[in-house]
Amino acid sequence: MDLNLTEADQAFRQEVIEFLNAELPADISRRVHADLPVSKEDTEFWHAVLHKRGWLTYNWPKSFGGVGWSPVQQFIFEEECAAAGAPRILPFGLKMLAPVLMAFGSKEQQEQWLPRMCDGTDWWCQGYSEPGSGSDLASLKTTAVKQVDHYVINGQKTWTTLGQYANMIFCLVRTDSDCKPQAGISFILVDLATPGIEMRPIRTLDGGQEVNEVFFTDVRVPVANLVGEENKGWNYAKYLLAHERNGIANVGISGQKLARLKRLSLTQKRGGKPLADDPLFAARLARLEIELRNLETTNLRVLDGFSKGAGPGPESSMLKIIGSELEQNFDDLTRRALGRQAQAHTPEVFEPGYNGPQVAPQDMANQSAAYFNKRKVSIYGGSNEIQKNIITKMILGL
C-alpha cells in the first residue's frame, strides 16, 4: 500500500492548478468562496470553459467522450476545483442523467442528448420527489398514460433544484398502478416548453430560491422520450444512486472549508486572543480535520475499488452520509467562528461599489444563510435515513 501521489499525479495536479489560474475569473471564484448562489450565466460560462478543455465530462467513460482519468486524478481535479472556488459542475445532466442514458438509453437518445448537455444547449433538472413522496419515492403518483405515440403526464413534482433555469427535466412517472409500486415506474425525458407545465418557485428558509414545484397538466411527451423499458424506471433510478460516487462526499469542498476556517481562526478574536488559541474551538476544528482525513482515504478506497470492478455496494450511501454531515459540520463551525457577526444578514456588502461597514469579515457575510441552506444536504438525494436503510438492507441481507 502506498498513499503517496505518483510524479504523474503531481504533474497532473499542477496542470489542473494552472488551468484554473488561467481560466477561472476572480469574481466568480469570490462568489463561490463566499457561498453565494452562482448565476445561470456564470454556471454556463464555466461549463463552456471546461467543455472546451474536454474536462466537463471528466467522470464519463472514454467511449462516451470522457478523459480517461484515474480515480485519483478525478479526485485531484475535484479537490483543486473546490480550492480555486470554481462553480460546481451541475450534476443533473452530466452526473445523473448521463450515466442512465449510457447504460439504458437507446443509441439515438445517447446521440441526441449527451452532446447537448455538454455544449450548453440543455440545462437539465430532476423530477423525482412529489409532495406525498419524499423518502418513500416509490409511492409517486404522477401518471404517464400512453396514447398511441405519446405519453400524457399529469401530476406534481417538487424540490426541483434550479428548475427555473432548466429547459429539460427527467422524471420518474407512474405507468402502472396495478402492481408493486416500484414495478410501475418509468423514466422519461420532458421538454419544459411543452404546453401544460408550470414551474413555481419555493422559497427556502434562508430566503433563497433554488428549488421549485413543477405541475403537469395533460402534458404530451413523445414515446421516443421514454428511457429504457416501460415500468423499469425504478431500476434505473437505483442504478444511478448506487453509481453516484464522483464528488458525492464533497471532500474537496470540505477541504476548502477547513482551510478557510484555519485562516479565519487566526484573525477572529475570542477573549481578546486569536480564536485558534481557544481550546474548545481548537478541539472542534481538530475533530473535523481528523474526520476529513479519514473520509479522504475512504473516498479514494471506494473510487479505487470501483475502478477495479467492485460493487455496486453500499459505498455511495456511506460517502453521502459521511460527506454531507461533515460538510454541515464545517458550516456549523464556520458560523460559530463568526461569533456575533454570524447574526448579520448583509447581502448588500457583495453589491458592486458597496463601501459601507463590513460587519462580518470579508466574504463571510453569507455564512449563516449558508449554514441554514446546507441543512438540505442530509435531506436531498435520498435522505441520510434512507441511505442508512440502503446500507443495512445490503449488509444484513434480511
Binding site: G132, S135, W159, K269, R335, L338, F372, R375, K376, Y380
Partner: protein, 364 residues
C-alpha cells in the same frame, strides 16, 4: 420546594399567549423583521400597555415583578410566539442599569413603552467579551465625551438612547455612559439580522455623554444586567423549543411514508424521544438560572452559564434535528419551523455561545 408557577405568573403567561394568538401572527412578525426598524412599534407599545415590560422590573423602580421567574415567564411565552419585539434588547438590561443608577424617570418611560434604550457593549463582533472595551471616555469640566465603535448593537436603530461601556483615563475599571440617539457625533449603520430584526454599528466621535453610576465601577452592574439578558434569552429559547417540539410531534403523527405515519418508525421514535428529554434538561437549566438570579454574583453567574451552555448545545441540536425529521418541508420559508430554528440557533450567538459559557462555568 414548589415547581408550580404562581397564580399571577400563570395569568401573565396566559395573557401573553392570547396576545400572540390574537394580535401577533407570524406573517406580520416576518414582515416587521425585514422593515427598516426591524420590529413592530405598535405591537411593542401594546405589549408595554399589557404590562409585559413592567413584569421585568421590581416594584421599587415602578415595575411589578423583576424576579428571575418573572423574566423567565415572559420570555418563554414570547419565544413560543417567535416574538421579535426588543423587550430584551432595549428594555430589560438597559432598564436594569438605569434603575441601579437612579435614572427612574427613564425606567418609567421604558416600562410604559414610551422609550427604548439600546445597549452597546461589544466592539469586536467575533468576540463575546464585554469586559474590556477600548472605547474611551474623557472628562472636560463637568462634561464627558466618548469615542469608539460599538458593533452588533441590537435594535439601536430608532432607539431613544444608547448605553455604552468605555474606559476612562483616570480609573482602572469600566464605566457606563448614556447617550441620546440624536446627539451630534453619534453615527449609526443599521443592518439586518439573520433571524429577523436588526442591529447597528455605532460610531462615536467625541460624543457628549452622561456618566451612569460611579466612574470605573460598572463591571458588577454590567454583569448583573448580562445575567438578566442571558436568562431572558434562555427562556425565549425554551419557548421556541416547546413550539418546535409540538410541530415535530404533530408532523410525526400525521406525515405518512411507506404506508404509515413517520412516528411508527422506531429509528425516528428514538430521535424524537432524545429531543424531548434534551428539552426537559434545558427547561431545568432555565429554572435553575431563574432561581439563582438573586443569588450572590458567583453563584448566579454559574447558574446563568450552565443555562446558556445547555440552551446553546440543546437549542442547536433541536433546531437541526427538527429540520431533518421534517425533511424538505422544514427547509421552506412557508413552513413556520425554519423561522423558529433560525432564531434558536442565533440565540447561541448572543451573550456568549455554548463554548464561551462552558469555559466561564469551568473557570468559575
Amino acid at each position: 420546594m414548589d415547581f408550580q408557577p404562581t397564580e399571577e405568573r400563570r395569568m401573565l403567561a396566559d395573557m401573553i399567549g392570547k396576545f400572540i394568538q390574537n394580535d401577533y401572527p407570524l406573517n406580520a412578525r416576518l414582515a416587521a423583521g425585514t422593515s427598516a426598524l426591524g420590529y413592530c412599534p405598535e405591537a411593542y407599545s401594546t405589549m408595554a400597555q399589557l404590562g409585559l415590560i413592567g413584569a421585568l422590573f421590581d416594584e421599587e423602580v415602578g415595575g411589578f415583578g423583576g424576579s428571575g421567574f418573572d423574566i423567565a415567564t415572559v420570555f418563554t411565552e414570547l419565544g413560543k410566539g417567535l416574538v421579535l419585539e426588543p423587550l430584551n434588547d432595549t428594555a430589560l438590561a438597559t432598564g436594569y442599569i438605569l434603575a441601579q443608577t437612579d435614572q427612574l424617570k427613564l425606567v418609567e418611560q421604558i416600562i410604559l413603552g414610551q422609550k427604548r434604550v439600546a445597549l452597546g457593549l461589544i466592539e469586536n463582533g467575533a468576540d463575546y467579551d464585554w469586559g474590556a472595551p477600548e472605547t474611551l471616555a474623557r472628562q472636560s469640566g463637568a462634561e464627558w465625551h466618548v469615542s469608539g465603535v460599538k458593533t452588533c448593537v441590537k435594535f439601536a436603530h430608532g432607539a431613544d438612547a444608547i448605553i455604552v461601556s468605555a474606559q476612562t483615563p483616570s480609573a482602572p475599571g469600566i464605566s457606563l455612559f448614556l447617550i441620546e440617539a440624536s446627539t451630534a457625533g453619534l453615527a449609526e449603520h443599521p443592518f439586518q439580522t439573520v433571524d429577523g430584526g436588526n442591529a447597528c454599528e455605532i460610531t462615536l466621535h467625541n460624543t457628549p455623554a452622561q456618566l451612569l453610576g460611579v466612574e470605573g465601577a460598572a463591571y458588577p452592574l454590567i454583569d448583573a444586567a448580562a445575567a438578566r439578558a442571558t436568562l431572558a434569552l434562555c427562556a425565549e429559547a425554551l419557548g421556541l423549543m416547546e413550539r418546535i417540539k409540538d410541530m415535530t410531534i404533530d408532523y410525526m403523527r400525521t406525515r405518512k411514508q411507506f404506508g404509515s405515519v413517520l412516528g411508527k418508525f422506531q429509528a425516528l421514535q428514538h430521535r424524537v424521544a432524545q429531543m424531548l428529554l434534551e428539552i426537559e434538561q434545558a427547561k431545568s437549566a432555565v429554572i435553575n438560572a431563574a432561581n439563582d438570579l438573586q443569588a450572590p454574583s458567583d453563584e448566579r453567574n454559574r447558574a446563568i452559564s450552565a443555562a446558556k451552555y445547555s440552551i446553546g448545545r440543546i437549542g442547536c441540536a433541536v433546531a437541526e434535528e427538527a429540520i431533518q425529521l421534517h425533511g424538505g418541508i422544514g427547509m421552506t420559508w412557508e413552513y413556520d419551523l425554519g423561522h423558529f430554528a433560525k432564531r434558536l440557533v442565533m440565540i447561541d450567538h448572543e451573550w456568549g455561545d455554548q463554548d464561551d459559557h462552558l469555559m466561564r462555568f469551568a473557570q468559575s
